[in-house]
Amino acid sequence: MEIKLTVNGEEQRRDVPDNTLLVEFLRSDLGLTGTHVGCDTSQCGACTVHINGKSVKSCTVLVGQADGAEVTTIEGIGTVDALHPMQEAFRENHALQCGFCTPGMIMSAIDLVNRNKPLSEDAVRKGLEGNICRCTGYQNIVKAVIDAQEHM
């Protein structure tokens, strides 16, 4: 099928098989490998991206469903020289170790803060329930999100 969508501000037109998942499209067709695949049951959240500003698990969306939409991935929110406040807060608070869950965690956290700020620590813990991290024990992730909302 023919699809047209905007990814990180750039328009993309492609002809893809109907059953292409958004995450496959991002990783394989566009080479945006910052979005990761960590499970096959929509549980881990490593693949979280934004569709029209809302966080979505891209392993559970066909790219056709994002036709015409604006998709933002971890590569589209900031650069090393101009980090998004959430990226900055993750680095400042040591909120990542192996880095694999990090892109999804950051994308979820941005949407969580955008929709609900100001958030209590408890609300951050509940709000990130859909993203699994095996390295950090979450403490510094929670700290980073609380920290970032001051700057968003």
């Binding site: 499970c39 881990c44 971890i74 192996c98 950051i106 408890d122 095996r134």
Partner: protein
Amino acid sequence: MANETGIGVSVKRKEDARFITGVGNYTDDINEPGQLYAVFARSPYARARIKNIDKQSALSAEGVAAVFVGRELAEDGIGDLPCGWMIHSKDGSEMIAPAHPPIATEYLNYVGEPYAIVIGETLQAARDAVELLEVDFEELPAVVNLAAAAGEDQIHSNVPNNQAYDWELGDKDETDAAFASADHVTSINIVNNRLIPNAMEPRAAVGKYEQATGSYTLFTTSQNPHLERLVLAAFVNVAPESKLRVVAPDVGGGFGSKIFVYAEETAVIWAAGKVKRPIKWRAERSESFLADAHGRDHITKAELALKSDGTFLGLRVKTVANMGAYLSLFASSVPTYLYGTLLAGQYKTPAIYVEVQSLYTNTAPVDAYRGAGRPEATYVVERIVEAAARELDIDPAEIRRRNFIDEFPYATPVALTYDIGNYEASLSKALELVDYEGIEKRKSSSRSNGKIRGIGFSCYIEACGLGPSQIALSLGAGVGLFESAEVRVDVTGSVSVMTGSHSHGQGHETTFAQIISEMLGVPFDSVEIVHGDSGRSDYGLGTYGSRSLAVGGSAIVKAAEKVITKGKKIAAHMLEATEDQVSFEDGVFTIKESNQSITFPEVAFSAYVPGNYPLDELEPGLSEKAFYDPPNFTYPAGAHIAEVEIDPSTGVVEVVNFVAVDDFGHVINPMIVEGQVHGGLAQGIGQALLEHGIYDETGQLITGSYMDYTMPRADDLPNFIVDTTSTPCTHNPLGVKGCGEAGAIGSTAAIMNAVTDALDREDVPMPASPETVWRIVNQQAN
């Protein structure tokens, strides 16, 4: 002047820039031109004989490049996956390992065991073709129940009673005598539940073969690429070491599960040579659940003999350990030398005797998982000590104090010599941080809210910094356990450091750069840490057993010292002085007598542009290598105290307070160390309250996804209170002990001691899930 990026400073991590911007380079991010995709056909049965595989329909399907079955690998000379640690049974006989072909040839012995590799032009084509394999299975009765496994059907023809070995350590007679003289004996029966490691990055491999040179490159999710290369070359016969490069790029967590050499990357790299095109494989999470090595899985009976004043006289432990269907790479060492040797804990127990029977079952292989043997040992010791305190009505902190080892070095009755420690210091600090004095008040306040509060202790010890090669080799290890380093000073004064250890979240690129920045006085940003590539660093044993800093960091220190020594010679020549007149500090070589000085970059430049240089005495260049083999293990230890509150109406156990005070010796980067502890605690608490790998009676894994296997999530955990004490390791140059596993080793027992305190009974199984606890609270049969 203090170095702001030197030792002891919480420097922000170098590696974070790429991870937070999504440009990390994990194995699945690597794509080679013309690559094919591999999918494995996996056993649907826990135990079956393959009568026939007809691969014709699969082979002729569109987009299928190749299909290989186990026999084809065997006929091509591909060997079995080995176990690298020989254990001897009580009677002196060698452990019995079954044949473990990477791709099963005749028998399938666990659900998920691969029996064919299907290679397609696309992932979809390969996946579809797996369905076209026509396989004639003869299902056989599965052995699943560990407690009964020795008496059930024999799984492997060469393994009577399904027993790998029956091992012992310690003095049985002395221990029996201690029990005979005891005033009191405390007994517990405990199960250390099976865990599934679940690093967030699933295992993956990209293999390629270069026809021009006949060489192979394997990108894979490994904690120890050099060891992977050694095993694939020496035992599996994929290619000679010199023709095989193994690269472990960014790796998304390991926790032990990525130490081992598995079927999948073995088949991928071999097949790449056959089809002469690159091949890529990435595990689905469902495959990770089935085919990553699992952890723990012990059944233990333990007895502690005491005097009436709480003095420990003897400890007797009998454990049955599950090996799963085959012996994974280090499986045999986990319930033996990484377990039995730790049963002294922090205590002066004079007599200890442990027996471990390791059995095969038709389940996934079990091997090292964060802590590996030491969490199991801690669980035994700290549960029984707490139970004894309760039985003798002695305060649990007090009974520990009465038995703490307080003179060092201390030789335990189970083969280790602790070099240093101060167990009282960590316990007192933890008691203060948890507000132990206020516990009764908090318990009564919980009661008035309809909740039940409990407190639990765990004063753990671990043997880390694996390890002294000669000791390990004498105990059955198949490889040395030293580490290598190269410190290469570039012409312009920047520094590249090659290490044989590997970072998959631990932050080596930062910690090791801090060491170099401190030692050589060079800017932190100009230090590059290179790891994970057998083509770039000489050799290495990788990262596990909290060894990277204690062993790998020590090798880096040795290499940097050689750089300084050579630098002094060069500086002496340039400043027309003698070598012993030169001192080196903060990146400057100085002659005390004349107060002349020259900077490190100037010396480095001179080494590569040797105009004014003692070429008659010294080779040009400034690059030094070192290997470091530690004389002993390191012994991190600490006190963990958990406070839980149970809601009797739901059975939910809430961790309301958790204090961890750990002694890691010197700390290079406190921020990173604290993060390591947090993560370990989450895994240890996960084991106690949430996680459980369960097979049904037919050997089907019923916790095979994140819908069924309870991973700790953000709202399951509290904020931990983490602190340290320090008795620097006496035998490595940095005085460090290692911090990667402590959280997972200490915390499980602390939580369960708190749960059993709250419920006022010892027989609470792990995980203490809401259902389990609710049934206990409501006095219903489980």
